[in-house]
């Protein structure tokens, strides 16, 4: 990928929580970049570290969490070297964030207008009146009906979908270069989900933003993303452009995720699931973190962790199967997944 076109580059990011039970590695050496104007999806189950990754970029990790190492380069500037005041001038201005819970993400005691206007007052030094005028424009942009009245409404007077639109208005108020959307549609009704997703993608193209979309929903990824990073237990296991990921998934976990999507084209008696559970971050397997759940796992997988290795066209995968060191029979991960084979004792779930 061309570096000049990269809006944000995350390099070996490590974020840990230091609890009384010891260090919990929530994000453990994550790499990715988001090309300018493109959307990168980060996919993973709950607890895979995707939200912590996004909060790390914003430098909003709260105690006892801490960014332990790595680099985050935004527009060529090192975010981890910035002072708190410098970070504040970036948050909500150049990098904005939308959260999962529209019902609780807006302050209940201030009007929608006040909450959007605040972004203009902080970052553009506008007066309250000018800021409210611009906020009205934002409400129109995000498609809230009768925006003038909504400006004076309190969050509890709006539905979930409308609140998420208001959140989007806050996030986009200052024309950010990067929008981080953390599960923006998860808490919404299915019909509203599609609307909000379309709104976000539409505005992204219209405003020329880059986007980091955090989700567990591959359907959302297929609809909105250009590139996808699949996270598992604090590490990225596969990085690919969206077409390749869906056509030629390489990591068994990615295949497992794809297979567990309900299909509408064939009759399914039951849904497929990936057996087992995401390992707890304070008790991670030594080798490949997916090995205990992987149908292809061999002894080498249990014993040592593979690197994230380059594949064709800038795609990457973290799996022994795609290396020369692989000591098992040849495997086509996608086709053989259902049959799999287990040759290592103790990996049976």
């Amino acid at each position: 990928m061309d570096n000049t076109n990269t809006i944000i580059k995350v390099d070996n990011l490590q974020t840990s929580f230091f609890t009384h039970r010891g260090e919990v590695k929530a994000v453990d050496g994550v790499h990715f970049d988001v090309p300018a104007g493109k959307t990168l999806g980060i996919v993973g189950e709950s607890g895979s570290g995707k939200s912590i990754t996004s909060l790390s970029i914003m430098r909003l990790i709260e105690s006892p969490g801490r960014i332990k190492g790595g680099n985050i380069t935004f527009n060529g500037e090192d975010l981890l070297a910035k002072t708190e005041a410098e970070m504040r001038s970036i948050r909500g201005n150049k990098i904005s964030m939308i959260f999962q819970e529209p019902m609780t993400s807006l302050n209940p005691v201030y009007t929608i207008g006040d909450q959007i206007a605040e972004a203009y007052q902080i970052h553009q030094g506008l007066s309250k009146k000018e800021a409210l005028q611009k906020s009205l424009g934002m409400l129109e942009l995000v498609g809230i009906p009768s925006p003038k009245a909504r400006l004076k409404a309190y969050p509890h007077e709006l539905s979930g979908g409308m609140r998420q639109r208001a959140m989007i208005a806050i996030a986009l108020a200052c024309n950010p270069q990067l929008l981080i959307a953390d599960e923006p549609t998860t808490a919404l009704d299915v019909t509203i989900q599609a609307q909000i997703l379309r709104l976000i993608s539409g505005l992204q193209k219209e405003l020329g933003m880059s986007m980091l979309l955090i989700t567990h929903d591959l359907g959302v990824v297929a609809e909105t993303c250009d590139y996808v990073a699949v996270m598992y237990a604090g590490k990225i296991v596969e990085y690919a452009d969206v077409t390749t990921l869906f056509k030629q998934p390489k990591h068994p976990y990615t295949v497992g995720l794809l297979k567990s999507l309900p299909r509408h084209d064939i009759d399914q008696d039951e849904l497929q699931v990936i057996k087992g559970m995401v390992p707890s971050p304070d008790d991670l397997p030594e080798g490949c973190r997916f090995a205990p759940r992987c149908p292809f796992a061999r002894e080498m997988c249990v014993n040592s962790l593979p690197d994230l290795r380059d594949q064709e066209e800038g795609n990457q995968v973290r799996c022994w199967i795609h290396t020369d060191e692989w000591d098992g029979p040849e495997v086509n991960v996608k086709d053989d997944y259902d049959y799999g084979y287990r040759t290592v004792e103790g990996t049976e779930s």
Binding site: R91, G92, S105, P108, I122
Partner: protein
């Protein structure tokens, strides 16, 4: 807002009826014959009968109650047995002293309590937090009269900065206000701390930070206003409790407030004074709680009446 206020105002009516009823029945619930008590122990049968007639005690109870309420509304709460002066005049001069004392004490509690609570919450588990919380525990556990005596001993007697007792000058106000305000400050500090800690972990606080809001404004603008509702409740109750509970402080500092009036009246069996004072205090309590309810609505527009 207007409708909310009106509704809340209407809701005080049953409370007021209850209050007047209880105060009225006090007369009949005390042991013995009220007329006997009022006429004095050595009064003859005729004198007692005369008193009973004068007090309207021969009328049916509902009629007596109606008369009592009717008179009270017109500002007539009867006359003191001890000196025959109107109860309203007796209470009137003392009432403002106590209200003033309670008001300044509450103001001090709010100021100290909020500051301490916010500092504690934003530096949770730090030495500062622990110091404040231990201090608050002291403030809460210390009996008022003892604190008052200690303050007099040091500030009035040892270093002679402030008057020992009395009322009227600003200096005389300081020690009683501290004495009375400390416990309230401690309660408010603890309340503010726990309420703030709860609010600080809400999603909208994260939203504010993600917007680039300065930490100071995150705390004072976004968090505090949400955290204030339980605190305001405590402030209201506190103010009410101070009105009735200022007796000891008033005694220690020799202040002629309502509290002392009531205590003296009880000792002298000056029944109309007790009755009138209780009624006035109860009404004031209802008023304060009404104001608290109204302020909820200012703090948080979500609050609706059922």
């Amino acid at each position: 807002m207007f409708i909310y206020t009106l509704k809340r105002l209407l809701q005080t009516i049953p409370v007021l009826i209850g209050v007047t009823l209880v105060v009225f029945l006090m007369m009949h619930l005390i042991p013995g014959d009220p007329a006997q008590i009022m006429a004095g122990e050595r009064a003859s049968e005729e004198q007692i009968e005369l008193t009973r007639d004068r007090l309207g005690l021969n009328d049916p109870l509902p009629v007596q109650y109606a008369t009592f309420v009717g008179n009270a509304i017109q500002g007539d709460l009867g006359n003191s047995i001890r000196n025959g002066r109107a109860v309203t005049t007796e209470i009137g001069t003392r009432f403002w002293v106590t209200v003033e004392l309670a008001f300044y004490s509450t103001l001090l509690s709010i100021f100290m309590g909020l500051m301490a609570g916010i500092i504690s919450a934003t530096r949770r588990n730090s030495p500062v937090d622990m110091f404040i919380m231990v201090f608050a525990l002291f403030g809460l556990s210390m009996p008022n009269f003892w604190l008052g005596l200690m303050l007099i001993q040091y500030f009035a007697l040892n270093i002679d900065w402030l008057p020992v007792s009395g009322w009227g000058s600003p200096q005389a106000l300081i020690l009683p206000v501290i004495t009375l305000g400390t416990a309230g400050a401690a309660i408010i500090a603890r309340m503010t701390r726990s309420s703030m800690l709860e609010v600080i972990h809400q999603d909208y606080i994260r939203t504010a930070r993600a917007k680039g809001v300065k930490e100071r404004y995150v705390i004072y603008k976004h968090a505090l206003r949400n955290a204030l509702i339980p605190v305001v409740t405590v402030v209201g109750l506190q103010f009410g409790a101070l009105l009735g509970g200022a007796v000891l402080t008033e005694t220690v500092f020799a202040i002629n407030g309502l509290g002392r009036l009531v205590v003296d009246a009880i000792g002298q069996r000056d029944f109309p004074i007790v009755q009138g004072s209780v009624l006035v205090l109860a009404l004031l309590f209802v008023l304060v709680n009404f104001l608290v309810d109204i302020s909820y609505r200012f703090l948080n527009k979500r609050i609706e009446l059922d």
